[in-house]
């Protein structure tokens, strides 16, 4: 069965600094990877997804992620964060691109300080 590991439960960072949120998945023949963001008191919003093709995926709000098959990772990055990026970030994996079942990680709380 697929699984996702987000090693960092919390990541504190100062505004305008770069950030990387780590995600590792269990190996599979085919895998589809997603990052979702949850702002306070809101639902889960899709940031970006990797289905196939280029391993560098660009998403909304200046975020990007790189699919690394050899390291089974899909780390999320942003070169310069804003206060408004403070949120919970979830990595997820599925067996299909438009799937019934997403397997989520435990989430990483990004806290941006002024």
């Amino acid at each position: 069965a697929q699984s996702v590991t987000q090693l960092d439960s919390q990541v504190p960072v100062f505004e305008e600094a770069p950030v990387e949120l780590r995600c590792n998945y269990s190996s599979s023949v085919s895998v589809y990877l997603f990052w979702y963001v949850q702002y306070p008191n809101q639902g889960l919003q899709l940031l970006l997804k990797y289905l196939s093709g280029s391993t560098l995926v660009k998403g909304i709000n200046g975020f990007e992620a790189e699919f690394n098959k050899s390291q089974t990772s899909f780390h999320l990055r942003k070169p310069s964060v804003h206060i408004s990026d403070t949120a919970e970030y979830f990595c997820a994996v599925s067996d299909g691109p438009s799937t019934d079942k997403l397997i989520f990680g435990t989430g990483t709380r990004l806290q941006v300080f002024p």
Binding site: F34, N41, Q42, G43, L44, S98, D100, I103, T106
Partner: protein
Amino acid sequence: EPEVTQTPSHQVTQMGQEVILRCVPISNHLYFYWYRQILGQKVEFLVSFYNNEISEKSEIFDDQFSVERPDGSNFTLKIRSTKLEDSAMYFCASSEGSYNSPLHFGNGTRLTVT
């Protein structure tokens, strides 16, 4: 942009009581889902629904749970006899179901069982 709406935002119920969580998916979507997140834990898949029947369900989705699409717009999750461990945030989601179509999540209903 169309969105998935969930009501109520917070539901408090006593153990053993029945509770119904309501969702209005995006109107042209065909696939509907419930996920839940127990405080401090992962977001977990509960059930998917397509063409008026369950297409997949997890081990969590036992006989105490049921889903229904009573009309053309609502999608409900019923818990027949709530337990303390049912306390969680419940997320509804929907998708078009076609290749490359992501899940759209609602803001969630926080269920507290006392």
